[in-house]
């Protein structure tokens, strides 16, 4: 029986998801032996005609990581969708837009203005990158930079999601084994457990049954006791609203969870749920005092939407007219 054909592709990505595959170490060889890799991310020329030449649905699984930032990435995603039976959004950027999604609070013009004119080290001469440029020898092209970052399922139909920034080797391996073993949940599922991080956190026992905080602290204001629930110490930890499966690595690093495994199933909007959660645990009923405490959430949007801004209900900051 022929081995299943597998493809990898990356969009606006840091490469961490690729590294996560390499970190499977000796286990990756078992995976490699079981499949026929027909398209390696980044490593192969992603000239469209080569992939177009493949029969539709001839690729068993395509793993796509990274957010969609350029038109070319969307085109490739659509092409791989046609050629693949299953498409997996792999990592927080593909699933939710990821950290590059924070650029959705800005737009192309503001980003370019900083990079090519305003940054303190720039020796500005009025020029900035353009999609078509005349040079003495001819004309050069650059792809256009969009205003808005998108998650993969905002541009194509996605079958499954593997969460994490990046997915841990354990989660990755489990997902691959489920695929190869044909034991897949219904389409649209996230290939990881559906319990919040607290369930696998070593400090869960020290978490009070009702978390009631009178004051919030930023991590710069205290040294955490690594043996006690960080929320109970007044620091924002998004564990209660975040999908587990990561073995609570950040907590083991003595830092709180920032939400990289994304929402649990049935969460309509990660940031909205995080807002609700923070509002619930701050046990202050006097409005003025509540405001003082909640203002300690110094960057609410960056905190609740760090990985999921692009995939949030609103998706991006309102664009200025004519931007």
């Amino acid at each position: 029986m022929a081995k299943p054909k597998v493809a990898f592709y990356w969009c606006a990505s840091c490469g961490g998801c690729e590294e996560a595959v390499v970190d499977l170490a000796e286990k990756v060889l078992n995976v490699v032996a079981a499949v026929d890799i027909v398209f390696w991310p980044v490593a192969l020329d992603f000239k469209k005609s080569d992939v177009e030449a493949m029969p539709d649905k001839s690729i068993a699984v395509s793993f796509i990581n990274g957010a969609i930032r350029l038109s070319e990435q969307e085109e490739m995603a659509q092409l791989l969708r046609r050629k693949s039976q299953v498409v997996i959004a792999f990592g927080a950027c593909a699933q939710l837009g990821g950290i590059p999604g924070l650029a959705n609070l800005w737009d192309r013009r503001s980003i370019f203005d900083w990079y090519y004119r305003q940054a303190p080290s720039v020796a500005p001469d009025g020029s900035a990158p353009a999609t078509k440029v005349k040079v003495p020898e001819g004309e050069l092209e650059l792809p256009a930079f969009w205003d808005t970052v998108k998650s993969l399922d905002q541009v194509i139909d996605v079958d499954y999601f593997v969460p994490g920034c990046p997915p841990t080797p354990k989660v990755l391996l489990a997902a691959v084994e489920a695929l190869l073993g044909g034991k897949l949940p219904p389409k649209g599922a996230v290939l990881a457990g559906d319990k919040s991080l607290c369930h696998e956190c070593r400090l869960n026992d020290s978490k009070p049954e009702k978390i009631l905080i009178a004051d919030l602290k930023r991590i710069t204001e205290l040294q955490l006791d690594p043996e006690k629930c960080y929320l109970a110490q007044g620091v924002i930890c998004l564990g209660p609203v975040t999908r587990g499966g990561c073995e609570a690595l950040c907590i083991e690093g003595h830092m709180p969870c920032t939400g990289c495994f994304g929402p649990l199933d049935q969460t309509p909007d990660y940031g909205g749920t995080a807002v609700s959660f923070l509002a619930s645990i701050v046990d202050v009923n006097d409005e003025a005092e509540a405001k003082r405490v909640l203002d300690k959430v110094a960057d609410p949007t960056g905190i609740v939407y760090r990985y999921s801004l692009a995939r949030s209900k609103l998706g991006r900051k309102r664009l200025e007219a004519g931007a």
Binding site: A12, I37, W40, A43, A119, T220, P226, C250, D299
Partner: protein, 493 residues
């Protein structure tokens, strides 16, 4: 049309690069342009974020060297809050950083640039990768490398929380320390790390340095550029990855300037070209003279070769011996051979391992005072480290609450961007004549920029053994003469 050269300088870029070569009527190269077609906007979207989130946000610039950004950001936070890290924290940071440099450099040596030499630049493409290395030097080597990498990365995860995107750095300290029990384990691992580093040295000597053909290749003119060099040095002028002052030498090796990261704006500016998204840092003292070599040009280089050129020596004994051999063999300081970066990297592998062992053997690194809480009002901070690929500077401004109001990042491969563009141009001009282009020139161009270990090289070195490359060649009248696409073979499995 998509662009295919997958070079990723560690900037706010990911992925893709493109080379356009323009020919004249005789089929000679007029100019080869190396373009970076992407940008993500980190500097802009850092604005509005809490300063203490910068180390974890900026590490997402690159998943191969997240620790470099994490550390530069952490040091910038020290400066922002004027919170000096405790001695213990400083040692822990430098130790973690040494482990990271060791494993990252070793990855490049065996998986990325090294195969060109271990297997040979004229070997069939399909063999120019880790599998070919294993074939050539034995399966045991392969297993050793994979195991060493796994162990080193496990240590980073233990101390830093995560290996890909650590959570370790805080202004004035670190989040986690070592117990004495853990320190002993780290020390034992450091001994194995040093053995592994010396093993890397042996492999490189046996396979590369003893082979005259390779040495000739390294010293050939096609891969030579005479530029300035910059690197971080300690108070004795010796190379240090974690901290120091920036020392710049000219193409003759004379010191031009030595400055603290805080003063970088006085010495470095960035040039903009409209045909690429990357900006080109240059020395203000010389000014931007274009993509040219020489003492009058503002172009400078960073990363292993530059660091060795810019320093007066290595701070650990075995690395120092290798440093001396390096310069003696290649004809004195400074060395201008781009391909010598691979060898310089080996010297640094040994230094990183020795430094790791030094720090892990110091019992005081298991101290409990790992944090100094900030007390000052934050305002502005600049931090510098040496990333595997070169100098990395993070510069932040904030309001009084510690919310970032500005971010300026000068990222490793950026400092090399001009020299890389020049290397590509030179290699193309040396190799293409009479309009004839074949696989050989693709190879030569590839070798020119792979030596810089541009980030995402991990992904550029595909299993088939070649970097995916697309060259478009345009005649004098602008028509497309030839398009060569390479790297489309399926993975042999």
């Amino acid at each position: 049309m998509s662009r295919q050269v997958v070079i990723d300088p560690v900037t706010r870029l990911e992925g893709h690069g493109r080379i356009h070569i323009f020919l004249d009527e005789k089929g000679e190269v007029r100019r080869a342009y190396f373009q970076i077609p992407e940008l993500r906007g980190f500097e802009k979207f850092l604005v509005g974020r809490c300063a203490e989130d910068a180390p974890q946000i900026t590490s997402r610039i690159c998943g191969v060297c997240p620790t470099a950004h994490h550390m530069a950001a952490t040091k910038a936070l020290d400066d922002l809050y004027k919170a000096e890290p405790t001695d213990t924290a400083r040692k822990l940071r430098e130790m973690l950083y040494s482990i990271f440099m060791l494993e990252d450099h070793a990855l490049h040596l065996f998986f990325l640039g090294g195969p060109d030499f271990v297997v040979g630049p004229t070997a069939p493409k399909a063999e120019r990768n880790i599998l070919g290395v294993i074939q050539k030097v034995g399966l045991e080597v392969g297993k050793k490398v994979i195991a060493a990498r796994k162990e080193l990365r496990g240590l980073i995860q233990e101390l830093g929380g995560r290996v890909i995107h650590p959570v370790f750095g805080l202004p004035g300290g670190v989040a986690k320390g070592l117990t004495e029990e853990a320190r002993v384990r780290f020390e034992e691992a450091a001994r194995r790390g040093l053995e592994f580093a010396l093993f890397c040295e042996t492999v490189f000597e046996d396979v590369v340095l003893k082979n005259k053909a390779y040495v000739d290749l390294i010293t050939s003119d096609a891969y030579t550029h005479r530029t300035h060099y910059a690197g971080l040095v300690d108070s004795n002028g010796r190379s240090n990855f974690y901290d120091g002052t920036i020392r710049v030498v000219d193409p003759s090796g004379n010191e031009v300037v030595r400055f603290a990261a805080r003063d970088y704006l006085k010495h470095i500016a960035e040039h903009v070209e409209p045909w690429t998204y990357v900006k080109f840092p240059f020395l203000k003292a010389r000014g931007w003279k274009g993509f040219v070599d020489g003492p009058e040009s503002g172009v400078y280089s960073v990363a292993p070769l530059a660091r060795l050129n810019a320093s007066t020596g290595m701070a650990t004994p075995r690395a120092q011996a290798l440093y001396e051999t390096f310069f003696k063999t290649l004809g004195g300081k400074p060395v201008h051979f781009t391909l010598a970066n691979h060898w310089a990297r080996v010297v640094e592998i040994v230094y990183a391992a020795e430094r790791f062992l030094e720090l892990a053997s110091d019992p005081s690194i298991a101290g409990t005072d790992i944090r100094r809480l900030p007390t000052e009002t934050p305002r502005e901070g600049i931090g510098v480290v040496e990333a595997p690929r070169g100098l990395l500077i993070h510069h932040y401004t904030s309001d009084e609450r510690g919310i970032l109001t500005g971010a300026n990042l000068l990222v490793a491969t950026q400092h090399n961007a001009a020299r890389i563009a020049m290397s590509v141009d030179k290699a193309a001009k040396a190799s293409i004549h009479g309009g004839v282009i074949d696989d050989g020139i693709l190879n030569k161009v590839e070798m020119a920029f792979r030596a810089y270990d541009p980030c995402h090289a991990c992904a550029t070195h595909s299993m088939p053994g070649s970097m995916p490359l697309k060259l478009q060649v345009f005649a004098a009248d602008g028509s497309l003469v030839r398009e060569i696409v390479r790297g489309v073979e399926a993975c042999p499995s």
